[in-house]
Amino acid sequence: MTLCHHPADEVLVSYAVGALESGFGLVVGAHVGACTQCRVKVGALEEVSGGSLSDLPDASLGAGALQRTMARLGRVPAPAAIDRRPLLERLPLRPRRWVAPGVWVAAVDTPHSRDNRVYVLSAKPGMSTARHRHSGAEFCTVLKGAYRDEVGLFRAGDFAAAEHDLEHLPVVLPGEECVCLFATEGRLKPRGLMGRIAFALADV
């Protein structure tokens, strides 16, 4: 798939070396899964990481580590079944909460930091969401549908990173609901009464 909005290279580097926080890594992973171009970059970075792994000094293992590990092996290698369902179906979501007509949110059950929010938000076609300002970093990957804001058009698979100083008004395109996966640092600061109520109710 040819996508228009990608994570910055340094985000991909952090992702490849395993250094992103779980919620943020999840959102980047959702994009990488959908984007050949970024998968190719990450693949190259993983090769460098593999070489680095081989060059690391050995850490000493506990006594009997090999024996304990061997005891856990099956007789022949038997790989686990591959889950090929779409990401949205594989995400461990908490129950949906309707926060406005046509809008629901559901927290993603990951052990992310308490200060962060990791959640899926769905808004109905044509919906204009609350204008809001960001108080911290936010990563977002569109899982379904599309929205447009002051930055551009974001379709399924596209990645958006918001700055703390970004204030925007995303509008869902007509035809299909728009479902996005978010990792957000700190709280959003919605403008206007409707927005404040929605975000307070959501409490994700």
Partner: protein, 185 residues
Amino acid sequence: MNSRAETTDDDLLIRIAGGDREAFALLFAKFAPKVKSYLLRLGAPGAVAEDLAQDAMVSLWRRAASFDPKKAKASTWVYVIARNAWIDRLRREKVQLAYRDLTDMSEASGEEAPDAAVAREQEETRIAAALENLPDEQRQVVRLAFFEDRPHSEIAERLSLPLGTVKSRMRLALAKLKVQWEQYR
């Protein structure tokens, strides 16, 4: 040629796929201490790094059948397993989600449509090309992440790419890596 001395990691993985426990012990001796070392550098407490290194090696045993030396280096393959074991454990093993699954890297599934298989081959060729053209500074940052005892926040800061505010955002996102481990302990 002395074939005994020439036993490569690739050979070991292929033998492991056939259920060879001796080959597993050899690969374990080589990689388990590296994997633990990597996990310690990511900030894992010692006991967690030890457990996860063992988990990663068990996972390697289970997935060995999908290793294809034509498509991936053994070291890359072991690395992705180790990284994913860490990430999966952080998620309390609920589901494998964020990080590229190994199946994307080396495993052609029987269910896969022919055009998907072609696309995968093209992707592998492109990865090889991307590796050759990888900017030095990105290579350097990967090495820094592995070899410097510095928080990733500082490493992100060192990335003096002209990306302006993206940098400050990354610093924030990376700085909490420690917090994650603290709640896991």
